[in-house]
Structures are given as C-alpha cells and as structure tokens.
Amino acid sequence: MLTPDQVTALAPDASSLKAGNALATDRKWQSLGKDEEVIWGLAKGSGKNPYQTRVSLQDLAYKCTCPSRKFPCKHALGLMLLYANSPEAFTENERPEWVSEWLSSRKEREEKATKRAASTTSKPKDEKAAAKRAAKKSARIDDGIQHLEQVLFDIIRNGLAQETLTENSYWENLARRLIDSQAPGLAGYVRRLGEIPLSGLNWETQLLHELGSLHLLIEAYSKLSKLAPDLRSEIQQLIGSTPSKEELLKEKGFEDQWFVAARTTSEQDRLTTSATWLYGSQSKKWALKLEFSAQPSRPVEHWPLGSTVATELVFYPGLAPDRVLPRNAAASAQANNPRPTPNGDFQQLLANYSAQLALNPWRTRMPCYLSAQPVSHDRQQYLIDRNGDGLRWKASTKEVAMMHSLSGGHCVDLCALWNGQHLTILSLADGHTWLSLDSLVI
C-alpha cells in the first residue's frame, strides 16, 4: 500500500511537493502502468521525448530521465501521488523494456552487495587487529568522557550563571569534541543540554538536573566492567556504541500486530531521523523504530501512520529496551485493520514510568496510547483521562484549538509522550482516521 502521507514525507521540499501534486493527474502522463513490483509512467515534459519515470513499490526507490537535481524529482512524486490516489489510472500491466532494465540492474547491484557482505563476514576475523581497534576506540571514548567530566566539574565549580552557558556554540563545540571521541550518544545528550539555557522559567534547575543525569552516566561508564550485561549494554548505547544489525538479527524477535501509533521527523547536521512508535496490539509493548537518511534524501517509511503490521521486531539489548529492528523492513502494512482499543490511563502511565526509571534513570520519555480530553484550567493545559485524572499537557495555541475541535468535550484516542513533567501529543484519532497532530497544525 502507498498513502499520500508517505509520499509527502519523501518530498525534498515544499515546491517539489507542489509540482508533484500538479503532476498527479493522468492528463500529464502519456502512459501509466503497474504490476506487483513497480509502477511506471511516461511524463509529458517540455522536451521532445517524454520522461521515463519508474518507482519500485518494494522500497519506493525511483528513477527518472528528467534532468532535475531534486531527489525524488517532481515526476517520481507525481507518479507516486497519482498511484496513491487513483491506482485505477495505471492501466498498462506489461513492463516496458526501460522498466525491466532498471529492475534487473538494481537486482544485479543488490546481489553484488550481498556477495560483498558475505565475503566480508566469511573472511576469517583477525582477532588481534579487531582487539587493537576496539582498544583504540575505547581509549578515545575514555579520553572524551574524561574531558566531559572535567567540563561538568568546571561548570559546577564556576556556577551556572556563567554567560558562556547560554551560548549554543559552547555546547556545540563540546558535542563535536565528543563525536571526535566516538561518543555520538553523549554528543546528542550535550546538544540537548544546549537547548535548555533561557528556554523558560527555572531553566537553571532543569539544566542542573540534566547535568546530574549526565554525570551519573559517566560514573556508570567508569564501572562498566562490573555491571550486569543489560545495564552495560544500555550504557554503551547511551554513550553511542550500538550493536551491529547483523548481530542483532541473530537474536529472537517479538511477534505481534504492531500498530503504527506515531511518527516524528527531526533534522540534525544534515541527517534526517524518522522515529516511529509501534504499539503491540496483543502484547501492549512499545517499540521504537528509527530510520536515518543523509540530506537531501528523506527516510523511506513503508508502514503508514495508523496502519498495522504483523511482523517480528528484534529489540536492542538494554534495560526495558524499546528501540527495535524489524526482521523484515518491507513487511506489508494493513490500512483497514481496526485500531487496538486503548486501555491505559494516567495512573498506570505514571506507575510504568516510575518502574522504568528505577531500572533506567536515563529514560527521558514514555509513550502512552489512551483516551483523554483536553481541558484548559487556570491558563494551564491538561489532558484528562477517562477516570478524571489529569496530567500537564505542553501544547501550542494551534494544538490546543485543534485538540478542542477534535474532542468537543469527549475523550479522544491519542498517542502521547510523557517526560516526567508534561505530555506531548504525537498523534490522535479523528473518527476512523489516525493523524499526526503536527500535520494538522502546520
């Protein structure tokens, strides 16, 4: 299945999307065709010959003969949008040669890559060299962590009132130093610290708490060898060493009907990250799938928001882990399956979060899927669950208006994140439609 939202998420910019929308009509195409694997079309352009556009339905890879330097180009976007909205317009079903050639060349490349990977893994491992590399990496991390600890002590010694702490460049330089030390997890932590100064009332307390948590992480890392395997793995991931996908896929996964509950996209250093929260219909477990893509291309998401996917997810090791790797990333999603019934409440959410914090004090957020209604009281925003219990809700004016409009004083099914202080709504139901709140308040 392909939805307009999935295609929209692929657009490199607003003008490409607008141009793609204009091309999403069969009048603009000389011919349109499809089979189970691929869709194709001949786009009428300004040149003598029409542009040949094809898109693989398996992974939304595309190719077009137009000279555009946008990826995907407007023709590929238009073809996908047209297919998402009116698949019946694709009347041809016999692949033209230019489509078959493209598919076979892709297949060849994939086979070569698989062979290359297999030959790399089948090569006898040079244990000595690997140990040397690991020791070198560990030394660099240690070096970075030592520097970070010294910086934390200096900050506390000289006080949080220093003006340099309010400059983003101070934190950015520290983050770069940590990336050089092969500790990207810590670098991300430090970048988040840079967003706190002057961000609101009591920012100093918030910054101090985050510095304290970071220091706790550093102390835990210093005792790494003495820690239990799960805690050790958690610390290593927080520092920035994630296990290889190949190793991870050897582990047993967790099968369920996963509801695609929420998706957020963020950008940092020309890297786009798409975070998808999946909710197990039977297990009630949460899973976080991350996709990364270097700009200008965008992460490809095969599972539309609000769909369900029956598949196996492998959890990363750690303490109450939520990050997952799908065993089959191209597993097909079902749009028409009913959504799981939300059965949680805020009391349960707080209890679960406390339990998780006891295991993992660096857990910064906890997703929830429940029914609640927005209420404005004393100039504060709250979400109230079916039991009448409320939690603070952080929302923009537009989000407040939108939630009130959707709720009308009734409870609405929604997916939100709790960070210990307030909730942030990620997605919610409008009748039978499941939507991201972000997309509604642009």
């Binding site: 909205n85 506390i156 010694r157 000289n158 209420v375 109230i384 939108m402 009130h404 004083g409």
Partner: protein, 503 residues
C-alpha cells in the same frame, strides 16, 4: 521546591564559594543523600542533582478535580467524505482557495458538515472574511457552535444560535446583536422596546449595527425608533441604514415623504414626437430633505442639484416611480431620458438597486445597458454591470445572464467576476466561448480569468470539458491553469454530490 532551589542556588553561585551543602529536598531521598561525599563539592552537587531529577521525574502526581467542559452535542448531519475533506484542507492551506465558497455551498446542499479537524482553520477564515460567514455557519455543525462558545474570536458563529435574554444586558456586542436578531424575529415589539430603552447608552458603532439589522427587513413596529432615533443620528451611515429601512416599511411616513418628493421632481413629458423622462429640481434644499438624510454638499465634480436629485430618487425603490408615473417597469427602463438628466437618472437607478435589489429592476437596467454596449463603453460597463448583478442570488443571476444580450467580452467579465451557478442552458454557451478562447488569440483570457471560469463549469460538465481540452494539441499556460482547476474540482465534487452514509 525550597530545597530544590537550594541545590540550584549552590550550582548557580558555583562551588568555588563556600556554601553549606543542603539537606535532602524530599524524605524519600534522605537515605541516598547521606551517602554523598560532600567533600568533593562539584561531584556532590552533580550526584545530588541526579537524585533530585530522578525523584521529580518518577514522583509526578496526578492532577484531580479539574472541572470538565460541557460536551458538544452529537451532530445531526454526516461528515464530508475523506477526499472532499482533503481538498478543503488544501484550499485552506492556500491551494485553489477560490473554491472554498463552492465547497461550503455544495457540502451544505448535501446536508454535510466540515470535518472537525478543519474547523479551527475554517473559523479563522470566517473571522477574516465576513462573506464566508453565512456558509461556514451552515456547515460548522454543533461542534463549530461548541467551539465558538469557548473562543471569543469565533463568537460571530453564534449569531444564528439561540441566545439567552441575559446576553442583551451583559453579553459582548456580537452576542447582543445575536440576541436582537433572534428577538426581532420572535417578538419584534420587545426588540423595539429594548432598543428604544438603551439607545442613548449605546456606542455609535453599536447604534449603526442595530440599524443595519433593521435595514433589509424592518418590522412596521420599528418605524418609531427608526424615524425618531436612527434617522436623527449624526453618523451618515446610520442615517442611510435608517432611510433604507424606513423606505421598506409600507405606508411609512418617510416613504410617503420621499414619494411626494419624487413626484415633485420627476417629469414624463412630451419632447417632439416622443415622451422623455426628465427632472425638475428645486432651487434650494429644504431642511426637511436634510432631516431625511439628503446631503447638501456634493462630491467634487458633481453639481449641487444633480447631487440632490440622485439622492432623492434613490431613496425609494424604482417601483415607486412606476406608481407615480402610472407606467410599467418595462416602460420606465425603455423610456427615453432627457439628455440633460440622463446621467443623473441612470446613477439614481444604479444606487436604488444597490439599496433595494429587486430582480426585475436589476434586469431592466442591465438589459438597457447591455443594449447600449459598444466597444467604447465596454470597459465602463465591465465595472457597472457586475455591481448591479452582484445584488441578486446566484440562480437568478444565471437566468439573467442567459437573457441579457451580452458581447463575449462582457460575458467573460460577468462570469469571472460573479461566478454564477450556471443553468444548463447557459453551459453550452460557456463551452463554446471557452473553445473560442483556446483557439482565438484575439479573445484574450488572463490566468485568473481562466481559473474563475473553471468555477463556472457545472459539475456534470467538468469531465466532458476536460476531455475536450485533452484533445487540444498544445495547452497554453492559461488553459493549463483552467484544466488544473477543473481537475481539482473534480477531485472533491463527486464525493460531495454523492455523500457517503452517516458514520
């Protein structure tokens, strides 16, 4: 939070200063707090901060007893289908926004309501654009009213809903007007009493708003306050609204006075072989005329007497002329005009139909003007005719356009400016006109004109029109814009015209 401020205050000042280490801020932290080695101050502060952070994160409390808002009533109408909702979302975001009135009108005719998620944007749009308000009110449903009760800026939506009597005393201006509108229909005498009692205490703006309410459909019992209060206002626009209202009350004293004045100045006299309509202006402007809203000082470039005549003649519907002269309306509009007074009489007619937009008068004037059309006066008529015709409803307009002897240029102007609901008879005329536009370079069409014309095509004619366009060897950018607009309309109109059953 006192203890938390303490650890923060140490961190703010820096541990280089010798400040005592604070006690544990919460009882639950007392035991781990005691294990902190306070000799190494920076480390101790960071450890204490980590403890405090964990305690705060895991110790959040539920908020209880928050009063809930009243629930919105269930909707009687169905929601618009998903493809139509998506189209409205695009229009509200700026794509093809000219189509919003059509979307709203079609949804209302199909007894649908707008999707809840689009209501905030739709109500904001209504706040900025008053012309859309009546349409939005009809498709906002119960949820729209519920929202408007909570947001002051959307209170205009409540004007058609039931308003409590107390709102007249304590409500906002919008709510007071809404109450007045409601009570004028159910109990006009009570409305008159309320207006009369409060008139002197109201602001000039509110007095004008009240008078405007009465201007289009006054009740006979309102004559007294209109005559004695509104007509004596200093503000000209309030006095104009009062004269409009009074002229609509049969046998009102004002109408009698105005009719007498028109009778006094209007002449239908013999001139050579035929009769002409002429005027006989007074030498001076009587005080009674000024009291009835006639302005003495003319605008620049207009003579004094011509100015007085124009105002007097336009203060009553043109039907009054027919009664005075014992002629039919058709005879009046076919009559020859005294060359000295032609401009004044025609201006008076135009002003009269702005005030009293009776379809037969508008038709009479437009037929007269269309017959007079030539290349020289086409630009002038392109301004005047839309002004006349915008007074009638869309269906009357369509039948008028069919009757009027219009040139192609004037027809394009009227269609693009007024966008009537085309009757089936006019549709082939438009199709032929468009075909000529695509082929004939002389018949120039701008891009905005082409988009506006695309909204004149009847829904059932969209697909055939697109098929005709598809056969054209090459499309100009103007024709492309026309086709894009038609395709966009085709993406939602079929769904609105054949709505799905209620969820």
């Amino acid at each position: 939070m006192k203890a938390s401020q303490s650890i923060t205050s140490i961190a703010l000042l820096g541990t280089a200063r010798d400040v005592p280490f604070p006690e544990a801020p919460y009882k639950v932290l007392e035991a781990p707090w005691r294990t902190i080695d306070t000799q190494d101050r920076p480390r101790a502060v960071l450890q204490a901060a980590a403890l405090e952070a964990s305690a705060l994160r895991s110790g959040a409390q539920l908020v209880q007893n928050i009063p809930l808002s009243e629930k919105a009533p269930l909707e009687a109408r169905s929601h618009s289908p998903a493809p139509a909702a998506t189209a409205l979302q695009r229009m509200l975001a700026g794509d093809f926004s000219q189509g919003i009135p059509e979307w709203l009108r079609t949804a209302d005719e199909a007894q649908l309501i707008a999707p809840f998620r689009l209501l905030p944007d739709l109500l904001d749009r209504g706040q900025r654009d008053r012309t859309l308000r009546p349409l939005i009110s009809r498709i906002a449903g119960q949820r729209g009213i519920w929202l408007a009760r909570q947001q002051v800026q959307w209170e205009w939506l409540l004007q058609s809903t039931s308003v409590e009597d107390a709102e007249w005393e304590n409500g906002s201006p919008d709510k007071r007007i809404a109450w007045l509108r409601q009570i004028r229909q159910s109990d006009p005498e009570k409305a008159t009493e309320s207006i009369t009692a409060e008139w002197v205490n109201e602001s000039a703006d509110f007095r004008e708003a009240i008078t405007q309410l009465a201007a289009t459909c006054p009740h006979p019992c309102e004559e007294v306050w209109l005559e004695n209060l509104a007509l004596k206002e200093r503000r000209q626009s309030t006095r104009d609204a009062a004269t409009n209202a009074l002229a609509r009350i049969p046998n009102s004293a004002f109408l009698k006075r105005t009719t007498a004045r028109i009778q006094q100045i209007l002449r239908y006299r013999r001139s050579g072989l035929s009769k002409v309509l002429s005027l006989n202006p007074p030498e001076t402007l009587a005080t009674e005329w000024i009291n009835d809203g006639i302005r003495a000082k003319p605008p620049q470039g207009t003579g004094e007497k011509a100015w007085w005549m124009r105002q007097v003649l336009s203060q009553a519907p043109i039907q009054q002329w027919a009664a005075i002269l014992d002629l039919s309306l058709e005879q009046i509009f076919k009559a020859k005009l005294d060359p000295d007074w032609t401009e004044v009489i025609e201006q008076a007619w135009l002003e009269s139909i702005q005030r009293f937009p009776e379809a037969e008068c508008i038709e009479g004037i437009c037929v007269r003007m269309a017959k007079q059309a030539n290349k020289q006066n086409t630009p002038q008529l392109s301004q005047i005719l839309p002004r006349c015709l915008q007074q009638v409803d869309r269906n009357t307009l369509a039948s008028l356009l069919e009757k009027l002897p219009l040139s192609k240029e004037l027809l394009i102007v009227l269609l693009t400016k007024l966008r009537p609901a085309l009757c089936p008879k006019l549709q082939p005329k438009l199709s032929r006109l468009l075909e000529e536009c695509w082929k004939d370079k002389q018949l120039y069409l701008t891009r905005p004109d082409a988009i506006a014309l695309a909204y004149c095509i009847r829904p059932e004619a969209i697909t055939p029109t697109l098929q005709t366009i598809a056969k054209l060897p090459e499309l100009s950018s103007v024709a492309e814009a026309f086709a894009n607009t038609l395709e966009f309309r085709n993406s939602y109109l079929p769904h609105l015209l054949k709505p799905v059953s209620k969820k």
